[in-house]
Symmetry: C2
Subunit: 207 residues, 2 copies
Amino acid sequence: MRLAELSAETGVAIPTLKYYLREGLLHPGRSLSRTQADYDESHVDRVRLVRALSEVGGLSLARIEQVLDVITDPGTDRLHVLEAAQRTLARSGRPGEGDEGVSTDRVRAWVEQHGWEIDPQDPFLDDLALAWEACDHAALGLDEERMSRYADHVEGVAAVDVGTVPADPEGAVRHVVVGTVLVDPVLVALRRLAQQHVSRRTERVGT
Amino acid sequence: MRLAELSAETGVAIPTLKYYLREGLLHPGRSLSRTQADYDESHVDRVRLVRALSEVGGLSLARIEQVLDVITDPGTDRLHVLEAAQRTLARSGRPGEGDEGVSTDRVRAWVEQHGWEIDPQDPFLDDLALAWEACDHAALGLDEERMSRYADHVEGVAAVDVGTVPADPEGAVRHVVVGTVLVDPVLVALRRLAQQHVSRRTERVGT
């Protein structure tokens, strides 16, 4: 298909597609002439992926480029690749954002006490420290015990995540990165709905 | 304390504090003279709350204003107030974002089959439909069965949320709104860490 058809198929404007091509977010089409190229389903998939990561995942284009790099060059060791893929998503790894020197001592102590096996350099420890500190500032009463109760339920979510990762390396990396980003909003919406369900049930029991 | 001390205490610049005062995000201090006012701990708390909602929660100032309105005028009926408070957070309610006509039929059918008691007009149904559709576009294989497995674990998270809501109405609304926004990043970080823990355990079992 031509660029105009790719645009119609994906709902993304032609100038935006040209921008994706220039920035390497979209691989070039098969050249037909000096000014025309042919695009296929792989381009449709890629454009949809970029849009989803940007609009639903809220990632910047620079961030999406990193994610796509990991997807298209997955390397060798499965576990390391999956962890590297995941690490591109850490908030504290984003330029201009991040920990600003928040201490991870409390988080490390909690992780150890909770029994999770985590790389001590994992950037998500910084993310967790930052998010926990914000809850403290808002006096939400989020202590170690409540953190562990959350963690037990979230471990169930993660087991579903890990259990659905495909076996082939490229598919696995794609699934981890894209699945992590795109399933977050699903879980956020589910949490709100579950809160409503649980509090309606609780209030009815209470009256 | 004076405005300069409030600034030092919260790490927020004086022009930003003046902006918060003008916009009503921060309540006025006790007037000492035509140009000076006295601020107290309630101002420190409020400024920290606004920063947390903005930086960690990612809410716009307009959105934060809505949230603060709900917190400071909690009305009467507890359950309705809590649901109204929560609703201010719906993605699909945000101007310029939202569903763009995404169908909620599949989500409604799934919710009913899953047995959750949810207001059929709840905007989080739109959020879930939108997030689910994005996963479909990325071919993540998120079907009804996996959604239900996620939902069961998330219901555990929501039970922790609801169980820690304070009894007084103002505290409850504050806790629901602020807790929902600020605990999201905690859960996101926990999910990444739990994925690492679960996949390390799984890979070790597999070798």
